[in-house]
């Protein structure tokens, strides 16, 4: 049995995708072994900020041998009339290095064939790893890579060493300008001297002596244990998330912990500010309610005093700044900041931030009829919501992400708690999957602000192109859709867009909002996809959409549920027949009842009329399951009509009237969705 160690050593890897990359590498090697029939006893994924790799114990020296069957010529031509092998069979045997004894006859569905069976000896594990491992490394994918030397291999950070040790032998392949060998590197706080490895089994312990805990799971356990020990004697709970621990794990080779304290006066800061400062400083962990923090560091224990002093100093300097801004801002007050927004341009040629606030204040009137919405709160919040952009706190780049939240704190001084809450929440959701505002006022304000941002981007020439979205309005548009649906706001998007455009003034009255409709249709489509609807269902619904988001979701839902049933195909094909015949027709007239001759067309028309009425009621009630039933019932008459009646007849009058009838029926379907967008499995795509 032999062992294998692979370690790629690099300068500090971006923590955000270290774990995934290391897992990809180790999965790649495991799959190789499985694929090549090399069994192993255990496998361990390794990563630290400066290395990733895999340690495999207990492999055979050789790949397992394999018995293969090779099919040769049909029996008929393989042997001559005397039963002797023909030239053809001999050729087959020679090509596959087969002996007479290895031949046999196999019955297949196509008849009898001469076949060969032989055992292929396993290839050396060493040879396989030597050729395949570099390929696996080269096939890794990363979100961002770089170049650092003349080599053609790209990696997220410069690769500086590679260990590839198979038992006692290094596999000297080359990657990224580095020749693989048996030398690893220690934690540089411990030494710069390479660590020579005789065999893979020494790796974990030798590296530990070099100040590196190579196994991420072990490291994580140590981190959590140390945090627990450090906080055991404290009154508060350490406040951390799994993500924070993961990130700490990805920037730490050798976890040590130290506790620090900051001056009590900083507890007067908003918690969000405190947490932002601590998190930005290498994920320091706050002990909630106290002036203490826990710092996980990655050096020798001897460094503890310097680390404590250093981090405390940096934290205090940042908190000093923050408190300075906070106090100044409170002294100044949000109303004064609002005054200052009159001098702050928003977007090019689109007025000041103050103009924007006033516009939002007017715009939210559109939501007046929503139930349980406190309009006074909303109006006040709308006017004040951008004022904190002029605060010293938000203008500081460390705290810009707290815009809104900071405004909420400042609003409490002179407005109600509800106003403060709406301001605090109005940026949410900041990203897909972020929490939505909890109050209806916050949600409306968020929608209003974001629709205005979208409009602003288009009016100021910052519309998104395929890869470029300078003002991030795709995210804004998505959030608008998400909020309208989540809160079931009855507002129509196109109406809202028209209103906000009006509020931008005379100057833009001729702006064509068609591009914005398209923009929103794309956002709705993306949103519905994320909700689990299929693209053809979404296309069917959005083909004829009146810009009501919630309704679009409901129609998709009805379609999706109906899709599981056997009648679904019938229904779709029903409309497709109708659609197909109308494809090249440009103009249609009204149906003239007197011109209906055949029983099938008379029947179709009568049923259509009946359905129109009932459909109207059901559409009104949004009973979309009923709508689907009604439309399905039409199928029978449609089929009968197409079977019995020739639409494209020679009599022009009759023909036009029949086309009008088909058009009328088509409209029934189109009122709900455009079924012809639905892709039925097995159907040829047009």
């Amino acid at each position: 049995m032999i062992d294998f160690l692979l370690e790629i050593g690099f300068e500090e890897f971006p923590p955000a995708f270290l774990e995934k990359s290391a897992e990809d590498l180790s999965t790649g090697v495991e799959n190789l072994l499985k694929d090549k029939r090399i069994f192993y006893r255990s496998v361990r994924t390794i990563y630290t900020p400066r290395r990733m790799g895999v340690l495999i114990l207990g492999m055979p020296r050789k790949q397992k041998s394999q018995v293969v069957e090779i099919q040769g010529p049909p029996k008929k031509v393989a042997f001559d009339s005397k039963g002797k092998p023909t030239e053809m069979l001999l050729g087959f045997m020679k090509a596959n290095e087969l002996k007479q004894a290895q031949l046999f006859i196999k019955k297949t569905r196509k008849g009898e064939y001469a076949c060969g069976k032989k055992e292929i000896a396993g290839v050396n594990t060493e040879d396989i790893l030597y050729t395949e491992v570099p390929k696996i490394i080269r096939s890794l994918e990363f979100p961002k890579t770089m170049v650092w030397n003349e080599g053609s291999d790209r990696f997220p950070r410069p690769v500086r060493w590679v260990v590839a040790l198979l038992d006692r032998r290094p596999l000297r392949f080359e990657y990224a300008g580095v020749k693989a060998d048996r030398y690893s590197m220690p934690n540089f706080h411990f030494s710069f001297k390479p660590i020579r490895l005789e065999k893979p089994r020494e790796y974990i312990n030798f590296l530990r002596h070099g100040g590196v805990v190579v196994d991420p799971n072990e490291r994580r356990r140590i981190i959590l244990k140390r945090i627990k020990e450090a906080s055991a004697k404290m009154t508060g709970e350490p406040l951390y998330t799994d993500e924070m621990i993961d990130e700490i794990n990805c920037i730490t080779e050798y976890p040590e912990v130290v506790t620090g304290e900051f001056d009590n006066q900083y507890l007067g800061l908003p918690e969000e500010v405190l947490l932002t400062v601590l998190k930005n400083q290498g994920n320091l962990i706050w002990v909630k309610g106290t002036n203490k923090f826990i710092c996980v560091f990655s050096a020798k224990k001897k460094a503890i005093q310097n680390v404590k002093k250093g981090y405390t100093q940096v934290i205090e300097a940042k908190l000093y700044d923050a408190l300075f801004y906070f106090k100044n801002d409170l002294r100044q007050g949000l109303e004064n900041m609002l005054e200052q927004t009159k001098g702050m341009m928003w977007l090019k040629d689109l007025g000041t931030l103050y103009d924007k606030a006033v516009r939002l204040q007017r715009f939210v009137e559109l939501f007046r009829d929503e139930s349980r919405l406190d309009m006074d709160v909303l109006r006040r919040a709308a006017l004040l919501c951008k004022a904190d952009l002029l605060s010293q706190m938000v203008r500081e780049k460390d705290f810009t992400s707290l815009q809104g939240i900071i405004g909420g704190y400042y609003a409490k001084v002179s407005s109600t708690e509800k106003v403060a809450m709406a301001i605090k929440e109005h940026y949410r959701p900041n990203f897909v999957g972020d929490d939505l505002p909890q109050t209806k006022e916050g949600a409306v304000l968020s929608v209003a602000d974001k629709i205005d941002n979208v409009m602003g981007a288009f009016l100021s020439g910052n519309r998104p192109s395929s890869s470029y979205d300078p003002l991030g309005i795709r995210r804004n548009g998505y959030a608008v859709v998400n909020l309208i649906d989540a809160y079931s706001f009855t507002v129509s998007l196109s109406h809202a867009v028209d209103e906000i455009l009006k509020l931008h003034g005379e100057k833009y009255k001729d702006f064509d909002t068609g591009v914005i409709s398209e923009f929103f249709i794309e956002r709705v489509s993306r949103y519905l996809q994320d909700k689990g609807f299929r693209y053809d269902e979404i296309n069917a619904v959005l083909a004829n959409w009146d810009s009501d988001v919630t309704d679009a979701r409901m129609r998709c839902q009805a379609l999706k549920e109906f899709r599981g049933k056997p009648e679904f195909t019938k229904l779709v094909i029903g409309q497709k027949r109708v659609r197909n015949i109308l494809k090249d027709v440009k103009e249609v007239t009204e149906v003239n009842e007197k011109l209906l001759k055949e029983p099938a067309e008379i029947k179709l028309y009568q049923e259509g009329r009946k359905t129109t009425h009932q459909l109207g009621i059901m559409m009104e009630q949004k009973s979309y399951t009923e709508v689907l039933k009604l439309l399905l019932a039409m199928r029978l008459f449609i089929d009968k009509f197409f079977d019995d009646v020739l639409v494209m007849c020679e009599d022009v009058k009759l023909r036009d009237n029949r086309l009008a009838l088909v058009h009328f029926i088509n409209n029934l379907f189109m009122q709900f969705v455009d079924f012809s967008q639905i892709v039925i499995e097995g159907e040829k795509q047009r």
Binding site: K144, F188, K302, A303, G310, G343, M345, W346, L347
Partner: protein
């Protein structure tokens, strides 16, 4: 007795160290810059394929960061020690870490952390991948492998190491305010620069005339374009640097919006990109001439 690391000694020792690494010892640029990267010894020299190793001190002016000498960690003007090595040596990280040891910082007694900090200078159309180097939590260096400058993919990757000299000195001297740093044995950093901080903070935040500065910006921009039109890369780039500084002052004054800001950055970037393209064009033309001669 432990040697006192005066500010000036730290500079001397670092320069010595990099001289031993075969870096040419250069001097600061003669007009206001936000970072050593603006110095043509970096921005222009990294564009071509010729080896270039250089070390110099740069005065970094960041008008926005002034705090009227009130904040112990923030000032609107400080010193950087800039190192460029092109191509980047394979063991550059070790060379850098040993420069800290050369200053007397024992790695066994501190934590040095390379914290991901992808760097980009939007006004220079330059970006790179690398880290902020933290000494016990304090950022003391930017360590970057340039990938692009002036909007051009670099043919040979240089490493840029930018030490924040005051930060390192604070750690070495164990003081918690920049103003308390010993410059030499008699004078502190504050003795040398406090008045300067006060006056420039007042200028940057209160007295700078945005209208005047904007008109200068426009004229300097036109001048740079004119010089480029005439094939004068370095004078054109000189005016580009001036535009960049004017922009920094206008921004500090707090009178431009986010979109105006983005626009001005775009204008400076266009100038810098033009310098880079022109430099490379002229280089290529020269090479062609040289090869025709031989």
């Amino acid at each position: 007795m432990r040697r006192v690391h005066t500010f000036e000694n730290i500079i001397l020792e670092l320069k010595q160290y990099w001289q031993q690494q075969d870096c040419l010892l250069f001097e600061p640029y003669n007009s206001e810059v936000g970072a050593g990267t603006f110095n043509p010894a970096t921005f222009i020299r990294i564009l071509d394929t010729k080896p270039w190793n250089v070390c110099y001190v740069e005065i970094s002016k960041r008008p926005r960061d002034g705090r009227y000498a009130k904040n112990p960690h923030r000032v609107q003007q400080f010193y950087q020690l800039q190192v460029i090595m092109k191509p980047a040596p394979d063991d550059i990280q070790k060379i850098y870490l040993q420069s800290l040891e050369h200053l007397g910082l024992k790695l066994k007694e501190h934590e040095v952390k390379f914290v991901k900090g992808d760097w980009d200078a939007p006004t220079l159309g330059a970006w790179g991948l690398g880290w902020e180097v933290w000494l016990d939590g304090m950022e003391i260096t930017q360590f970057t492998y340039f990938q692009q400058a002036g909007g051009i993919d670099l043919p040979v990757i240089p490493v840029e190491i930018t030490y924040g000299l005051e930060r390192i000195a604070m750690a070495l001297q164990d003081v918690s305010s920049i103003f308390d740093l010993k410059w030499n044995n008699d004078l502190s950093w504050g003795d040398v620069y406090e008045q300067n901080e006060l006056e420039f903070s007042k200028y940057n935040f209160e007295e700078a005339d945005p209208g005047f500065l904007t008109s200068l910006f426009n004229e300097f921009e036109a001048e740079a374009q004119k010089l480029y039109d005439r094939g004068l890369v370095l004078p054109g780039y000189d005016y580009t640097i001036k535009c960049s500084h004017l922009f920094n002052v206008i921004e500090a004054r707090g009178v431009i919006s986010i979109s105006e800001r983005a626009q001005m950055i775009g204008r400076v970037r266009a100038l810098a990109n033009r310098a880079a393209r022109l430099y490379l064009e002229q280089n290529a033309a020269q090479q062609k001439k040289d090869s025709e001669k031989t």
